[in-house]
């Protein structure tokens, strides 16, 4: 099948989980003999067209800007539409697959002018990300999210919690929804890493514990609650240090919160780091904390499980599907520093328990969350919508 996949982020333009999701899915679909064309936005220093392990990546240059973000998204969607029309003349796509609202307009337009079926993967909702629709921009984004679920022949969601969210909020008929989880490539964590060297790089001494957070520094990720848990963790594990990898608009606020705990010297903000460094960091931690307030899936938890690091995750959204409490990780109450501290202390103080979690978690990742499984289920969705 000839697939046109639309996404605003694709490596190396990595913001959240969508870029990695699109790359993993596209590569796995190619292995299953699909022809996959990704249409995405340009990025400094990257070719406008490249072949990534069989995936054809077409980058679109945005030749017009506007200071308003939403206006800017409509402008770049227009440039994407033109690119899709140009490509279709030679390729003849069978299906359009849109990822999230940011490329909704180009996807819906292409569906109608090419008369092709449309599949939409909704990775999260504005209602969840913003924890409510609190301003006109949020209402507009919410409307676009409804629109793409209305126009799509099939809607793919990554977790049962997302299915509930779309069913309740957008009234999407259940038969129109397919729940297909995210996946990761466990081989990225199969290499040998000198964990002591990695830990030294981040200032972690031989007998100190490294607690890691990986993600965007925005309120929905709940980093503030982890930071507020630091004094409670140090009461029982006074050698613990906290490494926060990622960036986002609330970084300066979080740095202030870290200083206010009185343990600012134990909390280090790394900003953006490369994928390789990220994998090494995750593999070298004593605990990976995912304290999200809202998390449609929670791929970071899967990465921790594959990396052999005990995962302490908030019991929200997709994290509750991935992490089985006391079996593949520890679930804690969201927005609750005491509960987070309890979970982290549990894994830091009991190495035998941590090893048990790690073994179970690795097996679950291999059995359930492979890209080939995700691609097979996505292929079934493509076939279903193409049959009409």
């Amino acid at each position: 099948m000839k697939v046109c996949m639309l996404t605003w982020e694709f490596p190396p333009r990595i913001v959240g989980g969508i870029a990695r999701h699109c790359l993993g899915l596209a590569k796995a679909l190619v292995k299953q003999d699909h022809e996959v064309h990704v249409v995405t936005l340009d990025f400094p220093g990257v070719a406008m067209f490249e072949d990534v392990e069989g995936v054809k990546v077409h980058r679109v240059s945005i030749n017009l800007g506007h200071p308003n973000f939403l206006t800017w998204t409509f402008i770049f969607n227009h440039f994407m539409e033109k690119k899709i029309a140009e490509l279709d003349r030679n390729i003849g796509f069978d299906i359009i697959h849109v990822h999230d609202w940011l490329t909704a307009s180009a996807g819906v337009a292409s569906k109608h002018y090419l008369s092709r079926p449309l599949v939409s993967t909704v990775h999260s909702t504005e209602l969840g990300r913003a924890q409510g629709l609190n301003n006109p921009d949020s209402y507009l984004i919410d409307g676009l999210e409804w629109w793409i679920t209305y126009e799509a022949n099939k809607v793919i969601l990554c977790s049962n919690s997302m299915r509930g969210e779309l069913e309740n909020h957008f009234r999407v008929p259940l038969e129109k929804i397919a729940v297909i989880p995210n996946a990761i490539d466990p081989s990225e964590y199969a290499r040998d890493v000198d964990q002591q060297a990695v830990r030294r790089r981040y200032g972690i001494g031989h007998h100190e514990e490294m607690v890691v957070f990986v993600g965007r520094l925005v309120p929905q990720k709940g980093v503030e609650y982890l930071i507020r848990a630091v004094p409670l963790i140090l009461e029982r594990n006074n050698g613990a240090k906290f490494i926060i990898a990622g960036d986002g608009w609330s970084r300066s606020h979080l740095e202030n919160v870290a200083m206010s705990t009185g343990y600012g010297d134990r909390i280090r903000f790394l900003g953006f780091i490369s994928d390789r460094e990220l994998a090494e960091l995750t593999m070298s931690g004593n605990a990976l904390v995912v304290p999200s307030i809202y998390e449609p899936f929670g791929i970071v938890a899967l990465e921790g499980m594959a990396a052999g690091t005990p995962v302490v995750a908030a019991n929200v959204g997709g994290l509750a599907d991935i992490v089985e409490h006391d079996r593949t990780g520890v679930l804690v109450y969201p927005q609750d520093p005491e509960s987070i501290a309890w979970g982290v202390n549990k894994v830091l103080t009991d190495p035998g328990y941590s090893q048990w979690l790690i073994r179970n978690a690795k097996k679950k990742v291999e059995d359930v969350y492979s890209w080939q499984a995700v691609a097979s289920r996505t292929s079934e969705v493509y076939e279903e919508v193409c049959k009409g």
Partner: protein
């Protein structure tokens, strides 16, 4: 959202995302309807944090969002 980050978003959205697309303070001021003094103040802060880069192009100071700056902006909406 802090003012400097809001400003960074606007600079990104008007397309100043590479040295070829970099803009002068006057151009930025016109595009995003902000006093040049305020533009300068925001740029100074963002340059310090490596989110914006300044270069001399044909004798003029021009500014564009760095790769880290682009990611910072995108992180707000993803």
């Amino acid at each position: 959202m802090p003012d400097d980050i809001r400003f960074l978003c606007s600079l990104h959205n008007v397309g100043a995302t590479s040295s070829e697309k970099s803009l002068t303070i006057e151009e930025i001021s016109t595009w995003i309807v902000m006093e040049p003094d305020k533009v300068t103040e925001n740029l100074d802060k963002l340059i310090k944090n490596d989110y914006v880069h300044m270069s001399f192009i044909e004798g003029a100071r021009k500014y564009h969002v760095t790769i880290d700056g682009i990611r910072k902006v995108l992180s707000m909406y993803s």
